[in-house]
Amino acid sequence: MTSVSAATGIVAQDVCKSFGDHLVLDRVSLAVEEGTILALLGPNGVGKTTMVRVLSTLIPADSGAARIAGHDVVADPDGVRAVIGVTGQFSAVDNLLTGAENLQLMTDLRHLGRGVGRRRVAELLEQFDLTGAAHKLLSTYSGGMRRRLDLAMTLVGEPRVIFLDEPTTGLDPRSRHTMWQIIRQLAAAGVTILLTTQYLDEADQLADRIAVLDQGRVVAEGTPAELKSRIPGGHVQLHFADPDELHSAAELLPVAGRDQNQLVLQVPADGSVDSLRELLDELHRARIEVQRLSIHTPDLDDVFFAVTGSHVSTQPARDPAAQGAAKR
């Protein structure tokens, strides 16, 4: 884990952070190799955003150390700031300016010079498909456009390390795929990326490595394949019309979960046609009547169940500010 060369990528060692008596980060260690993507996976309120804020010099950690491309976040914050780009959870754009003016603001603050700056603005508008809306005020932008502009602004200085805090939360499927494509291109170009997400499929799609965060601790870390091999896989939910049928089925089949009130039984299955056919044949032979069934592919909850033994805690109240902001 500490094999990452000191001059590149992201290295965090035993980072702790509390707010009041609430421990948000509990000795978090991470390492991201140069040019790779690490996904920090976890539900709301487990400390993903706080970790990004510590690594991007927005807030100091209580203890522990972190280096970004060789710069210490405490000793050399401006060194860090010169090489990073951050796209936060809620849009960091200037609503009273146009898209082009927002980008120009960034080129000016990066001291790119007039000619270079103007070329870079045109380039990014083109790359992010915003040329048509370049001179419109941001109040006319859709959610997807704002997010694209947000990321474009982050890329103005050609950062070597990028933090993306829930880059696709709240986006429609099409915008989401566009965003995924952009992120992949960046990694292919050698940019080191740390992204946070609450979607397993997003982490699976994009990341070279995934770190699962739970209550401020990294509870699992590995490649998507390694992590998925620890998940028992998906399951099939069988819905019954009466309790007797449920009971008979429960005696016959390996049960992963059961809900007596809803008359639902969960049976492990990998979702393949063969396994389904086998399952249905077995039920048919035993003359058990199933009302309907649904197939469930693994998600964040399964990961959590596999690595922590408990389900994702449903405590949305934990991080109300983040949620309010995300809705904006």
Partner: protein, 265 residues
């Protein structure tokens, strides 16, 4: 480029951003500049006849116009800083400030941009108000140098109020709060020599009025514009301005650096 050059360059960029904001948010800009003009008309044409009579024998509306212009110039400054406070709070409650904080830019340039932008807005508003006052028949015996001194005193005091407004904007938890707190400045202005001579006030109030910052500034400007002696008022005005600016500046920088450091968000 040197550090100083970067600081100047970043501040200039932020100033340009701020001036663009003023143009893109015209309803607020017009409101802030329009309020003092409406008040000028109100004071001269509604209250002016009676208040002018109080200035002495053979005085009237015209004399009151001459008397009240410094007060309204101060209203202009106090009105503009309300916008400063709102704009600062808008920046701080939005996402863009986090972007600025993760960039290697001169940290204070965000605030410098607001301060310079507001100062320019104040001077523009002052120019408009003086123009309207002359249109209404304002009469001044001041020489160009006196005018320069009067505007200088006003600009210095406005500079202090702007830093105060920046601090209030930073301290405010929401944009709504930020738009309300600077109202206190308007109230203070009414309890000064801006609109009526302090001598006409009851004892307790008079003492308060004589020892608060708006009075020496109003008296100094009035003296300069009417060609009368300004006495020690100028020194008091300058001292108040420097004092308020220094305290507000330190307060604002402190709030700015501490901002969000302790928030879980």
């Amino acid at each position: 480029m040197t550090t100083l050059a970067y600081t100047l360059s970043d501040s200039r960029v932020m100033l340009r951003r701020n001036l663009k904001h003023q143009l893109r948010y015209p309803s607020m800009t017009v409101m802030l500049i329009g309020l003092p003009i409406v008040l000028l008309l109100l004071f001269v044409y509604v209250f002016g006849g009676q208040l002018g009579a109080g200035l002495g024998a053979h005085q009237g509306r015209g004399a009151y116009l001459d008397y009240v212009v410094p007060g309204l110039l101060l209203i202009t400054a106090a009105s503009v800083v309300q916008g400063t406070s709102i704009m600062v709070a808008m920046d701080m409650t939005g996402g863009i400030i986090d972007r600025f904080r993760t960039m290697a830019i001169a940290r204070a340039s965000v605030l410098t941009g607001h301060v310079l932008g507001s100062l320019i807005q104040t001077l523009a508003a002052v120019a408009i108000l003086i123009g309207v006052a002359f249109g209404l028949g304002f009469h001044s015996s001041a020489a160009p140098l006196d005018w320069l001194a009067a505007i200088g005193i006003l600009a210095l005091f406005a500079f202090a109020l702007i830093w105060l407004a920046v601090a209030l904007g930073l301290a405010a938890k929401s944009v709504e709060t930020a738009s309300n707190t600077p109202m206190v400045l308007l109230l203070l202005l009414f309890l000064s020599s801006g609109f009526v001579a302090t001598a006409t006030m009851p004892t307790g109030l008079r003492q308060f009025a004589e020892y608060q910052p708006f009075t020496p500034v109003a008296d100094t400007m009035r003296g300069l514009l009417s060609g009368a002696a300004i006495g020690g008022h100028a020194i008091a005005a300058i001292a108040w301005s420097i004092g308020i600016a220094a305290v507000s500046y330190l307060w604002a920088i402190r709030l700015y650096n501490r901002r969000r450091a302790a928030e879980p968000k």
